[in-house]
Symmetry: C2
Subunit: 356 residues, 2 copies
DNA sequence: GCCGAGCATACATACGTATGCACACGGCGT
DNA sequence: ACGCCGTGTGCATACGTATGTATGCTCGGC
């Protein structure tokens, strides 16, 4: 019992297959009468048009790939949620794709095999040639939340430098001098830009960030948790996980315990909050924590995380708009949109203990 | 500049299109020589086989739909993660689909339009006819984590009754007598089964659950948060959100504050933990909280949630195995797998204050 | 009564790949 | 020298839909 095709419907309704195709799309050239007959036949056979046949014929799929990192990262999930709604409003379907770096060639193939009309990529690394490859092959592509230095494709991000500057200024204004930071990978534009701006504003305020007060690693909960433990223990910057000797040696050279820590995203910050709880350090009484993104969880009572809000809904809307425009007209030259960030003051930060 | 097709490759390599098709799949009937020539031509053109053309011809797509609820629910995300890996091992691709109940007809069409070879459905409601429809149309389907009463399709779930019984027994053993519960929707098998077993075991232990101590609602963080607030305030069971009069009246008839609350899943439990923090009630000193699922977040220090562990990795593996088997042989009769749950004792529960 | 206009439908074909089958070629055995 | 077989390739076609074009029909106008 194979699924019914438009030919089956045509036979039952006593018309030709093309007429079925037109009737179901309410083509004005088909008479009311025939439309009704075709619809009845289709319903009685439980006919569902084949998406493969259709897309083969029209060269369009109505699907858009969204390339994200780990699926269990709430930031990506919120982004997907926003994108889903926006794409749907444009009649497009979202296909989520994760991008394991070790086989990005597979990802490229999957994007270029005709299964999607366009791509929104959220995992771009700074040196990645994926955007270039996609653009060269004519696949409409938008980078979201991550940028590359070349202007090859459309890009939507928030102003990471401005946002990180807000966090730094807030810490300075609250009198913090013993400041630490958990940054993201330097291979990403978000990691690089947030770090650079945060350090610049601190330095301009006369409180340069010491290397020993910096941890740099993946945007994961576990790294935030571990990094905060190291910072509290005063482990030196070059102490790597599992290197017990270096860590022990570093403990002796510990500077004063930081009174504030900036985390380059909320996932790291929430990891840090959990790490603080594990280390018995009270937030905000003993430690100020500030994140970046303002994911939904940040507002939950147990975190109550002060953070730099990224306008994710607008960013998603913009990304979808740029993509739709480019699908409609692939010859557009690359555009870049940068939206402003905003500081959200909640309960995880307060004035430094020593501040007068 | 349109993407290259196998015809283009054939022309360049000086062979016929079918030979290209065979050469790229390393068909033994094609000579080493020709394979090399075809590969070179394909590479130089940047040829990527069209998934549409291929699937139209083979009637298979290598794609499996996974129907989940809200994307921001960490339980679904973890499930997707597990499923993704297992499907990949079987050479299958995962396509995530959310299922807005108000247009489940759209979901059905999307599943039957030939874009996927099978479906894993995690959102089934008890009375849903979606599984039946899919099965009737011959789409290999597996229900995961949710069951329906009819044996129409393959089903994989954990033993929700046994698991909820473990939680109830633990609370009784710890001397809790003032017990409350936040249950899931009665329209789901998980909601129904966990509630029924929890109540049965409590009743058998001589501590029947009072209706006023029960809240029943969606499996969301927000509902868990709100429900815990109501339970702490002693709001009556029939007090509905926004019904201020009923709530005020109920406050007078409040029984003793509960010493323990069971939540039908971890998302609700974490909502409850946040609600408790918001209400200034300490966990576990003043309130024991037990969840269900053991999602990754449950182990984070700030939650440290005691919960009933669902063997999600095994469930996912089983679901994929059943689906693969059914894709290979659609005539199999429906099977049902039920895996045991396990109590995970962490810091969110302890003996009742009054327990001797 | 004939012709043109306009409407409804059918015919032919394209989209890109996979596969059953036929066919050409060369080597070997007798 | 002839026929057989195995090997490598091409030919024809199928998959399901959409669309450009041709065709048949009806109706109105003169």
């Amino acid at each position: 019992m194979r699924p019914a095709t438009s030919h089956d419907v045509a036979r039952l309704a006593g018309v030709s297959q093309p007429t079925v195709s037109r009737a179901l799309r309410d083509d004005p050239r088909v008479s009311r009468d025939t439309i009704a007959r075709v619809r009845a036949a289709a319903a009685s056979l439980g006919y569902v048009p084949s998406s493969r046949g259709r897309s083969l014929s029209t060269r369009a799929t109505g699907q858009v790939a969204v390339v994200v990192g780990e699926l269990d990262n709430p930031f990506y999930m919120e982004a997907l949620e926003h994108l889903y709604g926006r794409l749907e409003a444009d009649g497009l379907r979202l296909v989520a794709l994760t991008d394991p770096p070790e086989r990005s060639s597979l990802t490229v193939e999957r994007l270029l095999d005709g299964a999607v009309d366009g791509a929104i990529v959220m995992t771009t690394l700074l040196g990645s040639d994926l955007p270039g490859q996609l653009a060269a092959r004519g696949l409409p592509t938008v980078l979201l939340n991550r940028a590359i230095d070349d202007e090859l494709v459309d890009t939507v991000e928030c102003d990471n430098r401005q946002g990180a500057g807000l966090a730094a200024a807030e810490l300075l204004a609250l009198g913090h001098r013993e400041i630490a930071a958990i940054f993201g990978p330097a291979t990403t534009s978000t990691g690089r830009d947030r770090e650079a701006a945060f350090r610049e504003v601190l330095a301009a305020g006369g409180v340069p960030l010491a290397e020993a007060r910096i941890r740099r690693g993946p945007f994961t909960h576990e790294f935030g948790r571990q990094a905060l433990g190291e910072l509290l223990a005063g482990a030196p910057a070059d102490a790597r996980r599992g290197d017990g000797a270096a860590r022990a040696a570093g403990a002796g050279s510990a500077a004063a315990r930081p009174t504030a820590v900036f985390c380059a995203n909320d996932v790291l910050a929430i990891g840090a909050l959990n790490g603080a709880k594990g280390a018995g350090v009270a937030v905000p009484e003993q430690l100020t924590v500030v994140g970046f993104d303002d994911i939904g969880m940040a507002a939950w009572e147990l975190y109550d995380l002060s953070t730099v809000r990224q306008p994710l809904a607008e960013m998603a809307a913009t990304a979808v708009r740029l993509l739709s425009e480019r699908i409609a007209d692939p010859s557009l030259s690359p555009r870049r949109q940068r939206l402003p960030a905003e500081l959200v003051r909640r309960g995880s930060h307060r004035a430094a203990p020593a501040a007068r």
